[in-house]
Symmetry: C2
Subunit: 336 residues, 2 copies
């Protein structure tokens, strides 16, 4: 089992981002010392109402504190970005981390982001697929000529290659069934999203396995799942302490349209207990062990990436959760 | 007087970039301990025949070693990039460096880069000017709507603002007269390029001063100049040791078309002595002091950014140059 930490870079308006970033540095050191295997960040642009740093320079800085941990972008919004730029930045991060970078890709879903980057929503899949093809060809180090629908290169050559060969693992974020099938066809693994309920994910795991079989591809060695997690010494405190921050976060998701990406008419407009059940991991350490086991047994997940901070949640609580995980939760699982 | 170091990230094909990056980390520590004020990197994409990391993640990682030094991108190729992406990445770097980031912009000149980013050469100035306007408006933190020739934003808002207010200093790289005039109109200062000879730069300083007067703008407090510099205990060794690397670098520049950006029919096709004279600073420490003084006196430069490594130049020589500068060159000037 592997454990990862989302360094949760969204913060409320008005707070000092210099102070928050110093706290992120301390979180990464704490995660390293606690035996985490991986730190990751997502990506958004124009993240109103939150302040949010950009993930690639932030991860590059945090890599200095990561020690033996892998460092990953769980999602780079590839349809918005130029594949040469992404290929070179990811290869750079693979150099900086000395071959420990994880390259996650996703479509994105926000109109604000699509407009800002001049990308039509219906072009996103085409841009992702073509962009990824260009990136993988550039990473061979060969001279390539490409004249596609979106990108043109004539005898282009990228001498800087990633440290990992043929390239860093390509993780696919996917919420709806079409995206899950694409993850099976094009990705090295599917990063199971934190938004959907367990029953939905179980059904989608069937979609994923079938798509793998159809493509003649093996089941991935590492199957990561992202989970909102909050652990406190007792269940009641855990629920009470995380509720305001998790509720506000999921309200913001709903206003961004993230819940439109959910399958089967699920939404985030629930009472908190209903929002938590079969979706988040909140409780005392024993609750966390039991919940993690359910996702292991029912989905086959073997790599848990926890987000334990949401905008406004104070540092001391994050560090306490990390400590409780290290002392009481990780020992229940075999590392590796 | 301020002194900066270009962390020279271009390396020959085939060498280990992990090893080279570790050396860059050591260079930054050496520069910090030697009393440098600033580290910087340029930017290129598809840098055949060299291996080259991307500057923004590389600078973010090196910021961890920079201590009190400023950290700068002497050039970000703004016409190739999306202004929302650049605004957020630069603001992130300003957070990471706790308000010590320098934002340099330039047009670029390579056809390979323009094609890869889908930018017509004749659009570059328009993209730079419009992109910079969008970036500066985003950095106010206000909601902005922008419908320009290249970019569209509707009620977009970037909550993450740079630490420096109103924004990090905007440095303009400029080689030809039109670019120098643009630097005067739009930049906080002109970064004097390392390619042209002193007589050309003197004439262009007149162009710059006149353009500042025309725009009603004051002469900048900091006037940086980039110089290829190599210092050894004696002049003869200095010339001999740097010649193969500097010559090869300027041959690559010529093949990239950089010398087409030079004014007045200058080119890089010279014998080495002719290439060096009035252009590079190569010699013993006394030579370096004398040469620096000439650029101070004749141009008014008060911030020297040295490149002391070119593809293939070994680390020990770079570190020795840094040490000689600290011991024998910097003491001849008043810091500030």
């Amino acid at each position: 089992m592997k454990f990862g930490l989302i360094v949760s870079k969204q913060h409320p308006a008005g707070v000092s981002m210099v102070d928050r970033f110093r706290e992120h540095i301390d979180q990464v050191r704490a995660a390293r010392d606690a035996g985490f295997d991986l730190i990751v960040m997502g990506q958004h642009f124009l993240s109103t109402p939150f302040q949010e740093v950009q993930s690639l320079p932030a991860l590059a800085r945090l890599a200095a504190e990561a020690g033996p941990m892998r460092v990953g972008a769980t999602v780079i919004l590839l349809p918005l970005l130029n594949p040469v730029d992404v290929a070179e930045q990811v290869a750079t991060l693979d150099v900086i981390t000395e071959g420990r970078f994880v390259f996650g890709v996703g479509l994105g879903y926000r109109d604000e982001e699509n407009e800002a980057f001049g990308v039509a929503a219906k072009e996103r899949v085409g841009r992702l697929v073509e962009g990824l093809e260009v990136i993988k060809r550039l990473w061979t180090g060969d001279e390539i000529t490409h004249h596609g629908r979106f990108f043109h290169l004539t005898r282009a050559r990228m001498m800087l290659r990633p440290v990992q060969r043929p390239h860093p693992p390509i993780w696919f974020a996917a919420n709806n069934d079409a995206a899950v099938m694409r993850a099976a066809r094009l990705g090295d693994t599917w990063v199971i999203n934190p938004h959907a309920k367990l029953a939905v994910l179980e059904r989608q795991m069937g979609v994923y396995r079938q798509a793998l079989r159809d493509a003649g591809r093996p089941f991935p060695a590492e199957l990561p799942i992202i989970k909102e997690l909050y652990v406190a010494p007792d269940r009641r405190s855990a629920l009470k302490e995380c509720q305001p921050f998790l509720e506000a976060k999921y309200k913001a998701y709903a206003s961004w349209g993230q819940d439109k990406a959910l399958p089967e008419g699920d939404s985030f407009s629930h009472e908190f207990a209903e929002l938590v059940a079969d979706r988040f991991i909140v409780g005392d350490p024993n609750d966390a062990v039991r919940e993690i086991r359910r996702y292991v047994e029912r989905l086959g997940a073997n790599s848990f990436i926890f987000r334990i901070q949401w905008p406004g949640m104070e540092q001391a609580k994050v560090l306490r959760s990390i400590e409780l995980l290290a002392k009481h939760v990780f020992p229940a699982f075999t590392k590796g």
